[in-house]
């Protein structure tokens, strides 16, 4: 397992280098003069020249890439053109907000999706199976913005059970240390705050988690049905293993392997910033941060955002691969 992990980590190096080159090239792929594009046609030559100098566009390409990499390796993502602030600093709370939301959305998706899929497969062709799969079918085709708005209308406006927007209560903001509000409130022992944070998370988590939940439920069901036909399940039955353990021990561990792929992919998609959901719930996440940057052509921010999302995908891929090998010994020993 250790050797496998090391091997996978080494394999990441060329991927990360390739990624950095791609992201680095973005600014050079802008047609025409990047400085002009950024500042507009009416900018004076002095201002344009200063911008080129700031962006390092006057240096040879290789020097530019070297500088970019040196900064990157020190955790320096450059400066936002719009706010003139360090992007590495600026992006942190957005990133934390997105990670927190994604975590809860996927927690909901996995717990509900996997169990619904298991029970649907176990009780194949029962009313539970039909209803669960009908809900899953509606779930995958549900427009997220509509679901979000409906949630807000019912649970926030009509019933007034849950807050409809934001990460925390405006009247009682969180004293943030790590940017992760859950961690912040727990380490400060602020349990009223924690309750507030969790309440704010519920509606956007469900809105965001519904599609992954539906996909996971369908995937789990079909994978379980396939595995339940396997010879080793018959062997376990012939040993006298009870149905519950047949399903949750013998079948699930095998059936989970393809489900894991879906979980990884969906997590990556959510972490990439769910602009729509973040907009509806006024959630200050990466999606919103990037969206704002794109609308004012803040190229360094866009670059950093893309790099961040790509890195997240790579990391999730790595985690999924490691989990595969933890579940399936045949991968581990290859």
């Amino acid at each position: 397992m250790f050797a496998y992990t090391v091997r996978r980590l080494i394999m990441l190096i060329p991927v990360l280098i390739g990624m950095s080159i791609l992201v680095f090239s973005i600014i050079h792929l802008i047609p025409g003069d990047p400085a002009k594009t950024l500042l507009g046609e009416k900018a004076s030559p002095e201002v344009l020249e200063k911008m080129r100098e700031d962006l390092g566009l006057n240096d040879p390409l290789l020097v530019q890439y070297k500088n970019y990499m040196v900064n990157l390796l020190q955790g320096d993502l450059g400066t936002s053109i719009k706010t003139k602030r360090s992007i590495s600093e600026e992006i942190k709370p957005y990133l934390a907000a997105t990670v927190e939301l994604t975590f809860f959305a996927m927690l909901f998706a996995v717990i509900v999706g996997v169990n619904a899929g298991i029970i649907a497969a176990w009780k194949q062709n029962s009313w539970f199976d039909y209803i669960a799969m009908l809900i899953a079918l509606i779930g995958v085709s549900m427009p997220v913005f509509w679901l979000g708005l409906m949630e807000q209308y019912i649970f926030a406006q009509k019933l007034q059970w849950l807050p409809s927007i934001g990460r925390d209560s405006i009247l009682n903001p969180i004293n943030s240390i790590t940017n992760f509000y859950i961690i912040d409130t727990v380490i400060q022992g602020d349990f009223d705050g924690l309750k507030q944070i969790l309440k704010h998370l519920i509606l956007p988590s469900i809105a965001l988690g519904t599609i992954p939940m539906a996909i996971i439920a369908r995937m789990t069901r079909s994978s379980m049905l396939e595995v339940m036909k396997a010879d080793y399940i018959r062997t376990a039955r012939a040993k006298g293993v009870a149905q519950f353990f047949l399903v949750y021990k013998h079948a699930l561990k095998n059936a989970f392997i393809p489900v894991l792929t879906v979980v990884g992919l969906q997590t990556g998609l959510l972490l990439g910033g769910a602009v729509l959901t973040e907009t509806i719930f006024a959630w200050p996440g990466v999606g919103k941060y990037l969206y704002d940057a794109i609308s004012v052509r803040d190229y360094p921010v866009i670059q950093s955002g893309i790099l961040m999302i790509a890195t997240i995908f790579v990391i999730i891929n790595l985690i999924v691969d490691l989990l595969y090998s933890a579940i399936d010994p045949r991968i581990r020993y290859q």
Partner: protein, 332 residues
């Protein structure tokens, strides 16, 4: 009826519901298993051997399956038994090994995990005791490095080794019956002989009754005391192995024997029975074997023959044997 049996299958009928109606995979099968004997069930692929054994284990999926008749184990009809009762019997009193050693063990659990699970399901041994028991069983079936193998995964072992693990697992609870469904079919010849040897030795040590399912009469000759020949879901001939080989009565059995290779005759071209096993939704009206039988007459094609008693335990389901049976009855 002074004789006592470990297992008595009476008029077993196993059907599968399908779009083409009820398919009789096992059609009125009866046989008895005596204490300490190895009974062979032989027949071409598709003749209902596996369905018979799975019916005994209570492992026929319902639906689409449906099991009727009775299977008497220890004076109790287990066709009617509850799932809970069946779970107590499975693995513990009636154990089973399968044809496909490559896929019969769970790939994501260690050999040890699967052995310990089987042992602990039916005993109150601690994990550690079960672990020791597992090692002891692996050694007993001739697996080298038994301690290490406990921590290994199925894909690290060869087919022969996996079948040994299956046998060790099946025998670990000292069952009174071992059902072996083509245990050597998927293995190559030398390994096949080793596995059969192992089963013979274990049977001697444990006095287990074995129900050995195979399509290979060579295996029957080597292992069994009695044999039941199945065709198209029915028993077509039954008797002790010596009689069946010396005086086979049913044309199907005769064909099977002719098509079994013998070491001395291995240069000759082997005989093979013409035609194929009929499919379940297309069963002939009379004797199921009639379409492939060279001696079939009018009655064969129209009327299902009963199982005629020839001598003693020797029975045959063929109209040609009607006279033999009558002669015997008159002589007696």
């Amino acid at each position: 009826m002074a004789e006592n049996f470990v297992l008595e299958v009476k008029n077993l009928k196993t059907y599968f519901h399908s779009d083409n109606g009820l398919l009789p995979a096992v059609d009125d099968v009866s046989f008895q298993l005596k204490p300490g004997e190895t009974l062979g069930i032989v027949g071409e692929s598709g003749s209902g051997k596996s369905v018979t054994s799975l019916s005994i284990m209570g492992l026929i999926p319902k639906p689409p399956g449906e099991v009727r008749g009775s299977i008497i184990y220890k004076g109790q009809d287990i066709v009617q038994a509850s799932e809970k009762k069946l779970r107590e019997i499975r693995g513990n009193e009636i154990a089973m090994i399968f044809q496909e050693p490559m896929t019969s063990l769970n790939p994501v659990f260690t050999i040890g995990n699967q052995m310990i699970e089987a042992i602990r399901l039916h005993t109150s041994l601690s994990k550690k005791e079960a672990h020791h028991k597992g090692i002891e069983m692996l050694k007993l079936v001739g697996i080298p490095r038994a301690e290490e193998i406990m921590g290994e995964y199925p894909h690290q072992l060869s087919g022969g080794m996996r079948q040994r693990v299956m046998i060790a697992m099946a025998m670990s609870l000292n069952p009174s019956i071992l059902i072996a469904d083509e245990p050597t079919t998927a293995l190559d010849v030398t390994i096949q002989a080793q596995i059969l040897d192992l089963m013979r030795n274990l049977k001697k040590d444990y006095n287990t009754s074995i129900l050995l399912i195979t399509h290979d009469l060579g295996v029957v000759a080597e292992m069994c005391q009695r044999v039941v020949v199945m065709y198209g879901g029915k028993v077509v001939e039954e008797g002790d192995v010596r009689t069946i080989f010396k005086e086979p009565k049913h044309p199907y059995t005769i064909g099977l024997i002719k098509s079994t290779p013998k070491i001395k005759e291995n240069l000759e071209r082997l005989y093979s029975i013409p035609g194929n096993v009929p499919s379940l939704n297309n069963m002939p009206k009379g004797c199921t074997f009639a379409p492939r039988c060279e001696q079939a007459t009018e009655i064969c094609r129209n009327q299902v023959p009963p199982l005629f008693s020839i001598t003693g335990e020797h029975k045959s389901r063929c109209w040609l044997n009607e006279k033999d049976a009558l002669d015997n009855r008159e002589g007696a």
